[in-house]
Symmetry: C2
Subunit: 162 residues, 2 copies
DNA sequence: ACCAAAACCGACCGCTTCGGTAGGATTTCG
DNA sequence: CGAAATCCTACCGAAGCGGTCGGTTTTGGT
């Protein structure tokens, strides 16, 4: 398996936040119920998202989480990376700040390790897939509701189909 | 990490076999020394490659392993899959014989799980990268020897630079 | 002032995989 | 026969995964 359920759950969480249009924070508890996920586990995941600056939190009663920026500006590679850690196909792959890909045992005289070509291609494939997808796309994809009656939503305890 | 060292070691092993042009089998021991990998561990990996029909073995003294078909016909998705098992971005992804991708919890009324779009894209990216690379490419990439004097090679105990 | 709701934090736990080792059995060539 | 090799099974420490638990802190409502 390429990714663990951390990515799955975390992305689901982000989508759930992305569904809420307003700026009212959403409690983890409601997310947990909506997605049928264990609350305590989500706490760990949302902590990573918060530290990565993808969500903001407000504490106390009626507190909860909100997206830190509009869903259209959230790229999924940032989300997955926050949840799973550095995304590299192989142990020996580091990424420099400028996006250069390096292999740690480049000292073997014969022009770098033979597998580098392969892993570089894989890395490109994954990165393009993730970076080319925004949270907004996933939100759209998950709710085929063109115009959800944009009114009367300020106080209603929103219960979405799922 | 997307893949473990099983893929790394196994691919290195395949490359090592691909370097040998003739049909003389290569012992695991020589591969282990050339690549500085533990022999006992390689045994496990090569077993998977053999069961997948990617290499053939001959037992007894002067035995060893050979590629089961020419390197140009070996696609790296088969190699990696043999070593790492089914390649799917997420637990819930199965692939039907026809190549259809399925998510196991497709029962959630709202048109399948929201993350499916993302994981499908990732899967495509990885699969294209792996399936679009042949072992021959990696062999070529690893040895910048245009014409290695194709003669006088039948008995020489080939020691390659690495 | 108090209570409940919520975010926060850290420890723990059973399980599986990973990377590797060990010891043997079997086959084959010289 | 003996050495070289494949083959097979079991085991082992470490790490990560998925999850639970108990507690602390912050905050709004009454």
């Amino acid at each position: 398996m390429l990714f663990s359920t951390k990515a799955e759950y975390g992305v689901r969480l982000m989508i759930e936040l992305g569904r809420q249009p307003g700026s009212t924070p959403i409690s983890l508890n409601s997310v947990a119920e909506a997605e049928h996920l264990p609350l305590s586990y989500l706490e760990h995941l949302v902590a990573k998202l918060r530290k990565a600056g993808l969500v903001t939190s407000t504490r106390g009663a009626h507190g909860g989480y909100r997206l830190a920026k509009p869903a259209t500006e959230i790229r999924m590679d940032d989300v997955v990376q926050a949840l799973e850690g550095q995304i590299a196909p192989m142990e020996c792959f580091h990424e420099t700040p400028e996006g250069r890909v390096l292999c740690s045992h480049e000292d073997d005289g014969a022009g770098g390790c033979a597998t580098k070509l392969l892993w570089t291609r894989v890395q490109n494939g994954v990165t393009k897939a993730l970076a080319g997808t925004t949270l907004a796309e996933l939100v759209e994809f998950s709710t085929p509701h063109p115009q959800p009656a944009a009114e009367a939503r300020a106080k209603a305890p929103v219960v979405h189909a799922l």
